[in-house]
């Protein structure tokens, strides 16, 4: 049974509604913003629960400290900003007040990877890496609206620090909301194949599905294992797939260092060495531009994934 919609669609601003619903269900939830309430789609929560909404201005280090203080008092603070400002800028505060303390602080970062037109200051290409390296931190990169809405509930229910990438405005709907159930820490097989395993995270699932179609035309079948939780990594599921295909490709809207590609490389090196090709942003900063342009420049398109799969299969022999 496929977990996917027969025909993928889009929806507008699913997070805005999801965070309000979460607030209705759980009175402990407080929403923190940093002068980006509309941009991070928490303006609906602000209208619905003004007393549980806190705009902390352009002061992210302070915001993370405040979130920790609230968490110590039993609240569930969810801090929203762009991914770069939720991770890079308050990194030490996140490390100490969230990760080290194992406090119940949630960080939600919009504009993941190459999705901002403002250039490298706004492109969170290292957020997964920064968060993954912190002990106790849970790191989630959802693929579509269905998964993001469920993942929001899951991180809120998890007792401990979490970072989640957020998709805003026009968001794809790939998973069938009636069939798909997100489980924190669990990878999910989206397509089954025998020739190559494509491991995806975040919005790159859509790219991998197109790449899989290309491979099929060449007579190759791919397993697509979607890995929305980068940490803790579902190592068993990944190894099970690679045991069948003998080679793998990782695909992420992120640097190839520090995120999914690194996590899988570490796993394979220690548990089951196999050819691996990482698709993502090479060791460089991107320029400003549209996501479509940047994806092409950085090699994040379906054709790049299919080419990487061919290399992986060739190395396996």
């Amino acid at each position: 049974m496929s977990l996917l919609l027969e025909k993928p669609s889009t929806t507008f601003a699913p997070y805005r509604e999801a965070i309000v619903k979460l607030g209705e269900r759980d009175v402990r939830v407080v929403v923190l913003g940093a002068d980006l309430a509309n941009s991070t789609e928490i303006d609906g929560f602000k209208e619905r629960f003004p007393e549980r909404f806190f705009n902390l201005g352009v002061a992210e280090q302070n915001a993370v400290g405040i979130a920790a203080g609230m968490a110590f008092e039993g609240l569930v603070p969810i801090f929203h900003s762009f991914g770069v400002f939720a991770t890079r800028r308050p990194y030490e505060q996140v490390c100490i007040q969230a990760a080290m303390e194992r406090s119940n602080v949630k960080l939600v970062g919009a504009l993941p990877g190459l999705s901002s037109r403002l250039g490298p200051t706004h492109q969170a290409i290292d957020d997964l890496s920064l968060m993954r390296t912190l002990p106790n931190m849970v790191v989630v990169d959802p693929a579509d609206a269905t998964e993001m809405v469920q993942a929001l509930d899951a991180i809120a229910a998890h007792d401990g620090p979490c970072y989640m990438r957020m998709m805003r405005r026009e968001v794809p709907v790939i998973f069938d909301p009636g069939k798909y159930r997100f489980v924190l820490g669990r990878a999910v097989e989206v397509e089954a194949g025998v020739d190559v395993t494509i491991l995806t995270t975040g919005s790159m699932l859509a790219v991998a599905l197109e790449a899989s179609d290309m491979l099929r035309e060449e007579g190759k079948s791919a397993t697509i294992l979607h890995v929305p939780t980068i940490k803790p990594l579902d190592g068993d599921a990944i190894l099970d797939c690679i045991r069948v295909t003998g080679c793998a490709v990782t695909v992420e809207n992120h640097l190839i260092t520090g995120g999914l590609g690194s996590a899988v490389a570490e796993l394979l090196a220690e548990e089951r060495p196999a050819p691996l090709v990482r698709v993502g942003i090479e060791d460089r900063f991107a320029s400003a531009g549209t996501p479509e342009y940047l994806f092409e420049m950085q090699g994040l398109c379906p054709v790049d994934v299919a080419a990487a799969a061919a290399v992986a299969m060739q190395r396996r022999g």
Binding site: N62, G65, I66, G69, F72, Q97, E101
Partner: protein, 279 residues
């Protein structure tokens, strides 16, 4: 429970000074100069103004006390032990491997420690979060935050000061041990943050300063600030002397981290016994 008098708090602080010197000698070293500059402020707060239940440290109605510079751990431990939060015998294990009595404070190591303070300048933000949570929960306890003057050079302190004033957190009381020194020397030489009281006033705080080693002055200032109906967050800048009470340590930059031999111990004890004249 009525608040102890300034005289009783002064006697308590004098006793704590002896304990600080003894523990420093016995355990091989401590940040003693800062302990001695801040012990009067810390004693006044913890024995006089911060309500808590030593046998029920998580009592929801307690005032929160956050120590921002974790290096000030020892005087905090001494007060907590004396109040009965833990057995004072534990002080002899100060900074031993495996001991909860660590060189710097970490949340969760001992009852009464609400924040980790080893990395400076973060606790005022945590305090703002706790004060907002208290207000959201319609609870009346206060949030006290003790800071040093060295960390006033950090931007995060001023982000937090801005937010506390913005939200009108009259349930916050900050105290600064302004002893005039940081690791590399005199604060005015390393990175001047004067006029500190004026800065907090400009940021929208109810701010006062006093001689932070004069218990009568400290309690008079704290009475005014804590009991005030003013809606602003409040702060007391205590002007203190590093190593206060021991002449060879007073304002001597050589004593950032202090190791105390037997001769120094004898001299220090004699001087503490003689006391000093506030005037």
């Amino acid at each position: 429970m009525p608040r102890p008098t300034a005289e009783a708090l002064r006697a308590r602080a004098a006793k704590h000074r002896e304990t600080l010197v003894d523990v420093t000698h016995r355990t091989g070293g401590a940040y003693l100069a800062q302990a001695l500059s801040s012990i009067d402020l810390m004693t006044a707060l913890l024995h006089g103004y911060v309500s808590g239940r030593p046998k029920e440290p998580a009592w929801p109605g307690r005032d929160r006390f956050l120590l921002s510079p974790g290096h000030y751990a020892l005087p905090f431990y001494v007060c907590l032990a004396d109040l009965g939060y833990f057995d004072a015998k534990l002080l002899d294990t100060f900074k031993e491997n495996g001991s909860p009595v660590e060189l710097a404070t970490h949340r969760g190591t001992l009852p009464g420690i609400e924040v980790s303070g080893g990395s400076l300048a973060q606790a005022l933000s945590v305090g703002v979060g706790m004060a907002l949570a208290a207000r959201l929960g319609k609870r009346t306890h206060r949030v006290f935050v003790m800071m040093s003057d060295g960390e006033q050079g950090s931007g995060q302190v001023w982000e937090a000061a801005t937010a506390a004033a913005h939200f009108g957190l009259g349930n916050m009381v900050a105290v600064v041990d302004r002893n005039g020194f940081q690791v590399d020397g005199a604060t005015r030489d390393v990175m001047n943050t004067d006029p500190l009281v004026d800065r907090y006033r400009a940021f929208g705080w109810l701010a006062e300063e006093c001689d932070g080693n004069d218990m009568s002055a400290v309690t008079a200032a704290l009475d005014g600030l804590v009991e005030s109906e003013d809606p602003r967050p409040r702060i007391l800048v205590g002007n203190t002397v590093r190593g206060k009470g021991i002449s060879f340590m007073e304002a001597n930059p050589a004593f950032h981290y202090t190791r105390m031999d037997d001769d120094m111990l004898g001299e220090a004890r004699a001087q503490l016994e003689a006391g000093w004249d506030d005037a």
